[in-house]
Symmetry: C2
Subunit: 193 residues, 2 copies
DNA sequence: CAAAGGATATACCGTTCGGTATACTGTAGA
DNA sequence: TCTACAGTATACCGAACGGTATATCCTTTG
């Protein structure tokens, strides 16, 4: 029960750094200090390795998010709770989250994209659900829930993604409490303060 | 002067569909009806092919965008002009734009990411510049130009990206005039109508 | 016409790809 | 003690990878 975890850890490292297609199984195994049959014993295929990796790193994520995807008290508080879970998870497992995001934005016919699709769809549908529940309060949305969800996730994901790019590789990327509130305020009330 | 263009066209097709790393030079050449030395004669390397492709497809894009990245008349009109160029270019060359976006979101140490980096940085800095120029009108931004630019581009890019995913492969993806105005309104005034 | 040089093909390079047949461990249960 | 099985390694597979040495075409130019 040690090789298995080491393989997963090395795979996450390498996939995050250089991408799924750009990394070979040999390099993963070499860095993990095992041989290829060991990896294939546990995961069956390179794609299976990716699936297991995503399930392990992101499995609890969707669960936590689904609990936060309900309207409660006010729109602002609801969005704040949802965004908090989103950002906390992204912080807690930064590499896995960015791996997911990069795969989500990759070519649709790439097989690696298929692996993250369920997670992306889940997050998206939860965001839509939240706005659905907020519809009675927000007033005539006229089906703009989709657009709101897209905008909301786009704002935060884009922020997480590009903040990461600006930092030096080693530094821990953490979206501050102040930034979080500022982003939510921007989403809710626009840029005219 | 025909093989060269056909190679570029096939490369765009395949990179868009399956990603840079997942596509081999042999497949590109085969589909273009040429042999590998021909491709290497024109582009020198697989990476050189990508660079040439991006330069051809996105070269004029940054130029057009830079002309629109100035404050004029009002914030709303300025953002509208900027967004119009952004969306028109994304529409006019949908595959190239999504290729750029997917590479932009890919792993930072992937060599393909290096190829799109200048374009991404350019677009981002132009958006920041626009908000910089609007600072006197928008009031105390306190360095929030960065955040606004991120939010603006995040909203639109996310929208372009995920709209594309929902459509059937063949259908032309076009962000309508109405949607464009709605998105800008959302960005400027938030979700409280 | 001759020379030059861009464009293209044949055939091939060494390397790495994802994946596996086989056999050997070490340990747990009968 | 024998059996069974998960785990692991050696050695290997055919295919595809990115890239190239060499030679021939074809057009342009002197």
């Amino acid at each position: 029960m040690e090789n298995r975890e080491r393989i997963l850890a090395c795979a996450l490292d390498l996939f995050y750094q250089r991408g799924f297609d750009a990394v070979g199984t040999q390099e993963i195994c070499q860095r993990a200090g095992v041989t290829k049959p060991t990896m294939y014993h546990y995961f069956g295929s390179k794609y299976g390795l990716l699936e297991t990796l995503l399930a392990q790193e992101l499995g609890g994520f969707a669960e936590m998010l689904s609990q936060a995807a309900h309207y409660r008290v006010s729109v602002e508080q609801s969005l704040y709770r949802f965004a908090t879970v989103l950002l906390d998870c992204a912080d807690a497992n930064y590499r896995a989250y960015l791996l997911m995001m990069s795969l989500a934005y990759s070519a649709r016919e790439n097989e690696a994209y298929q692996a993250v699709r369920p997670y992306i769809n889940k997050i998206h549908s939860l965001a839509v659900q939240l706005f659905d529940e907020a519809a009675p309060v927000l007033g005539n949305m006229n089906g703009r829930q989709e657009q709101f969800a897209l905008g909301f996730l786009g704002l935060f994901n884009h922020y997480i993604l590009f903040r990461g790019n600006q930092k030096t590789p080693g530094s821990r990327v953490k979206v501050s409490e102040e930034t979080k509130r500022s982003l939510i305020h921007q989403f809710m009330h626009g840029i005219n303060s």
